[in-house]
Symmetry: D2
Subunit: 436 residues, 4 copies
């Protein structure tokens, strides 16, 4: 396909991309509840001729983190069906095994993975005429769910890329693997996908994000690094209540165990080899003023400049929590509810995208590299690919926004959707062309 | 009136006492919301010829503790009216100034106070055929409100006592003052009543409780002591949120301030002169796992074997909370939401009740004295009376129960209501007879 | 022996009592180092015809608490010999097995135990003309050792009692057992003596103290109660040092473990059934400002209104210390270095001493009973005697003092020494006379 | 002077350098006690024709940190005189105002500063035949003082450089300023020197260290960076003692204040912009097990990747200490006893030294740059020079050692002393030659 032809085809797809995006925006589904979203995506991919895997083929149940209760999942499965999901596909996702992986087999050649995340936030979308989705009637129909981070756009681009690539199969080589990831919010989904093998054999991987540090339409950041490794933990403490006046010695104080844990967690030694973080973000404890408190929960996260430092923080945290429970003779339980590895884009891939972006007139401000300084569980895919000898990068696709990410007024400039599709498609072509 | 005549009159009142009690049981009102209860009581007392005070005459607004929000009070005022309260009387109680004091002036002689508490718990009553109030149709109509401590019986007895005494006015001397106290639960109401002068000039005061340590019908405990002084505090901490990964140094951590406060509050030195207690019963803090937590609240209580020790605990607590806020550079606020003095029955009054109870065949097990070992804000009335040269006691009127106090299955043996009325009336007569 | 004759004999002994006391005062020996003191006592007792036990016969090594190092003991053994102790006797006390028990067997009859404590404080005696021992040349010759509590007087009285009783053996019945206890300071010695059986079979036990709450010559307190149970613990923490700047993550912080222990020890729940105490009195930790601290020690004590409460405090403390070590991943060790049971005098014995004291003209102010409110390890002897069916009391023998106990200016009125001897002897006679 | 001539002259000086070094090694003087060392240096500098400043001309008293007590200083002044110091010079240093600055004025041109530190450690030198200084008779004569870091070599090199430069004055331009700094150990001296203006007007500054990361003779590191900023604090807490059993409520617990401070200091938020450190390295508290502890001291240090981060840590620490004192109602005092700024060598100076070192055959392993990762208060001089528009570097002069720095077996290869002199002299010449 000639470049002009490709461009024209993508431009022709623009209204469809907006349609996809707005449909996803209207039906947002948070982590592990992307039943309808996955159903729509899978049906389209099958229609396009992809070999599609889903359910337990792409999610290892034991590695899922932060999974909602069965009752909650069942509720969302029903809701998804009532909003047009295919009941048979939904049933395959029972237990929250959402997301899908599509492959296009094009003979010998490199395995190229493209990753798009599809979950929404669990935020209530603002109902306000100043907010375009509301004004134009595509704001969220689901309570406590909103696409406030742009993953609706990512999912739409993923489908656009799938459609374009399927239409030029004869020009491709190797294997194109498109990953539609659930549960990126809370960095919960990548681990279970990786465990099921979705990046096995991958030579090149590309992922990215609309907006973020590329704050304006026309910006493009070719590579990102210093993804912090992070782990999300919930610790619960279970003691024994007692009348605080009459017999305090008969109680086991879970509130004080949680308080001691919180203080001592923050006192974990800094690490001499790089940045570490700890945050006990939430504590809830107790039943009443005059009852020795028998229950407590703390929600915390650790971070590390690299995975080793994060692991150090987790190891220390586990021990501090256990010791705090022992201190007050209470039982405890720790659940890992999220987490990802650190990550760093591969320079050759950054250069490849840079060359490509500089050739695209839509980009007026091409930036080679930026630090992420936060966590995104794409880094989990990328670091495993790199450990196995592959390379990868994470781009940021500039887009004007109406508010910061995760704000209930968030909206973005949809004109960047075809640009994103073009970038992904041409990157695939360049990779194939350059692959020795 | 001859003893037999008095006994007969009281027996005749028995069905009315049950009626009162069940009416109050059906329409329970927690602290500072006793609009209907007060209205019913006041109307009856006026009808009986008492001089009745209410609203700001009996409650000093600035000394009220643990008052619900205006919106909540307004809601309950409306509910009270819809359940039969007199709108004019309710309006006098705006702001939660519930409760009433009735006086019968009988010439020269002692001032004798009888105190009955009238508020309910904020418990949801069980709906279960095994529970008589439900089975017989007089269980609570108000959500999150239930007479689970017997104050419905106390209020009924108070009206019974008022009726009997009004009918024998010519045989009485001095002043009979009947106090219907709101907000005993959470020990919130006595202070505001005392501040308004309701025990000024009192020579003798009697109060008591159905059940408690007098666990069976036929038991009677003549005096009670070692009421612990107590204070109830809410401390809030207000910091500054920050992204826990990117810029933790920009936050002010309210959760850690609350955790440090909790630990160090429990480390306040024991007191060499008697028992002290501290309990941080509830903590809630934080907004999300990855946000440096900018908010926290702790709900605590102190206790002391005497008021001085409780004051020591409060003074220390105030400083620990202030210092904890300073430790994490956050703002704080402390609200006193309840509290009462310690108390000890006066031996002469205990002896008077003992002689009386031993003469009443209903009592098969008369116990002179027991330790209370907890808090009841009657002790606030009694200790002020004693400080001013008067004497008082607190009795326990045995009654079979179906469950412990504050349990959602609580019910008691209504046959003790006339016994309680008789005891109060005869105690008044004995006091008058013995007053030099 | 006629009373007058007895009195005369005791009066004749007065100069000898002062001589004994001043000799002990000049050669004070702290806990487990009473080599010379014991040697002097044992030689005298043998001379008087007593059957004397010492060394491992009266001290169970494994139950000794707070024992000095071998080197220190060896040093004091040499010093004792250089100050006149019998080397053979000293050798029997190797390892600190000081103290002695003397028995006078007088046929059938009750076993009566009299207990005198003999150790000094480890205080440096003041060198000051205003201080009689210094002025008159009998102040301490041993550095960091001084009889500042009156045990020199106790030991002297014990020898006086032994002499008088030996001289009237034919008038006595049963067994007289005189216990010379080491290591009362720090409540360290009684447990090891009890374990060796020194109060086995005892029907009556008497012990007492010069001064204390009987502040003036002429005072006598017949019985004492509310001895607090107490336990003395040393906890050491052993971590790993690290350069605090370069590699703090490689260290294990013993200082923070000790700090966490200290705070959480003080936060142990108060006990609903009586007074409890905890005090971390001493902490030492660390090696230098820039080294992550690998070492720490805390010295603490618990107390309880009764032994159960003290045991509760010890149990909780043990767990808190273990948990604090775990919190910082350091090793720990807890040593029990002192402790005693709670105690309460037996009323019949109190009455016996009261009757006796009221008959002695030296006593102008006889007080039946007082609370001790502190710890004395006599209570260990007494409570074991009581557990086995015997009875006992603890008296206080009034004496004018020049300063408080444990003050480096402490001195007392020696004229009370014969009074104390008389009281003990006559108590023995009264017990024998009254024994059924 | 021709290069060969210079080299010859320096080689001729070698025995003198060793003599100087061994004399300093024999008479080590720790921070602020370098009375003899300074006296020897000043007399030599005057002899060489330098304009010399000392005492209050080079030390601003109010900025001195960690100064010993007057008594201690007086003792060392006497000792210095007894070891050959000039009494008049010593008197000028009263109060610990040690150190000196020498200037050679050579007309117009740059101001070039060379800095040498002269204090010893406060370590007891090993007495062991395996230790050359002991074996050859030049080990420390002063107790608790030893040159275990190589500053004896630095001082010797400083005198050597002074002698060579004085001998070639006509070839020089501008001003040569040689700084002999006291109190580098504990990073205490630079601040007081800088405050007195010793680096005012400096265009180029050079300092360095024997050994350290240049572990072998032949190594040379041209520039060093990432000096951590650090601050050393002593915090004392003063409470009120009380009998821990009888009246704990009357005490004010300094031990718990120090424990709370220690935990919460370690919980100070990590900083998002770079590495921070905190270490409470030492705690001592309390007087006895059964006394509520009225005294405590903690010795701590903060560090920061840059001075702003260290200042953040200090600011937070101050508040935590104050709040901990308030928590336990005790008084507190904080003393800054040491500290320095962060630092980074200037690249042009690094390059200049690199070119020079590569031309010197003594260096077989020239390394351009290394991270220091610790604190040295040379960084205080250098960063102030840089703030004022000058440039500077810090080199490491490789030398075989017998043990690590600060080890009581430390010794180094004296053959590097002339090499160090040559490097400094030629650096001065190169700077002058290159100065525009």
């Amino acid at each position: 396909m000639q470049p002009e032809e490709l461009l024209k085809k993508i431009q022709g797809l623009a209204p469809t991309l907006v349609e996809y995006r707005r449909d996803f925006h209207t039906h947002p589904e948070p982590a592990w509840k992307e039943f309808r979203t996955t159903s729509i995506i899978v049906e389209k991919l099958i229609e396009l001729g992809y070999s599609v895997k889903m359910g337990s083929e792409v999610i290892t149940k034991s590695e899922m983190m932060g999974v909602p209760s069965d009752a909650e999942l069942r509720h969302h499965m029903k809701q998804a069906i009532s909003q047009g999901a295919n009941p048979e596909l939904v049933e395959k996702m029972a237990g929250g095994l959402t997301g899908a992986v599509a492959e296009l087999h094009c003979g010998e050649g490199p395995v190229i993975a493209l990753r798009f995340d599809i979950d929404s936030n669990d935020i209530e979308e603002v109902k306000d005429e100043s907010h375009r989705p509301y004004r134009e009637g595509f704001s969220s129909k689901n309570s406590k769910a909103m696409h406030a981070c742009g993953h609706d756009g990512h999912a739409a681009m993923g489908l656009g890329v799938a459609e374009i690539l399927a239409g030029m199969k004869e020009e491709l080589k190797g294997t194109i693997r498109i990953i539609f990831q659930p549960g990126e919010e809370g960095v919960r989904g990548a681990r279970a996908m990786v465990a099921s093998g979705v990046v096995d054999g991958v030579d090149y991987i590309i992922g990215g994000h609309i907006g973020f540090k590329a704050a304006h339409t026309g910006d493009f950041i070719c590579g990102t690094g210093k993804f912090l490794a992070t782990t999300k933990l919930d610790a619960t403490f279970k003691g024994v209540p007692a009348h605080a006046g009459a017999a305090p010695q008969e109680g086991k104080n879970a509130l004080l165990a949680a308080a001691a844990a919180s203080l001592n967690l923050h006192a974990i030694s800094r690490h001499g080899e790089g940045a570490s973080r700890i945050n006990v973000g939430v504590m809830e404890a107790g039943q009443g003023r005059n009852i020795l408190p028998p229950n407590a929960i703390i929600k915390l996260e650790t971070r590390g400049e690299n995975s080793e430092i994060d692991e150090y923080m987790v190891r220390e945290s586990m021990r501090v929590i256990e010791a705090s429970a022992k201190m007050y003779d209470v039982e405890y339980d720790i659940k890992t509810v999220g987490g990802t590895k650190s990550g760093e884009s591969s320079m050759p891939m950054v250069q490849l995208l840079k060359k490509l972006a500089e050739s695209m007139p839509q980009f007026t401000n091409v930036i080679e590299y930026c630090d992420f300084g936060a966590a995104e569980d794409y880094s989990h895919f990328m670091s495993v690919v790199q450990e196995n000898g592959g390379i990868g990068t994470y781009y940021m696709l500039g887009s004007n926004r109406t508010a910061g990410h995760h704000d209930d007024h968030f909206d973005f400039d949809e004109s960047v959707l075809p640009t994103g599709v073009e970038l992904n498609v041409r990157a695939v072509l360049d990779i194939i062309a350059n692959h020795e």
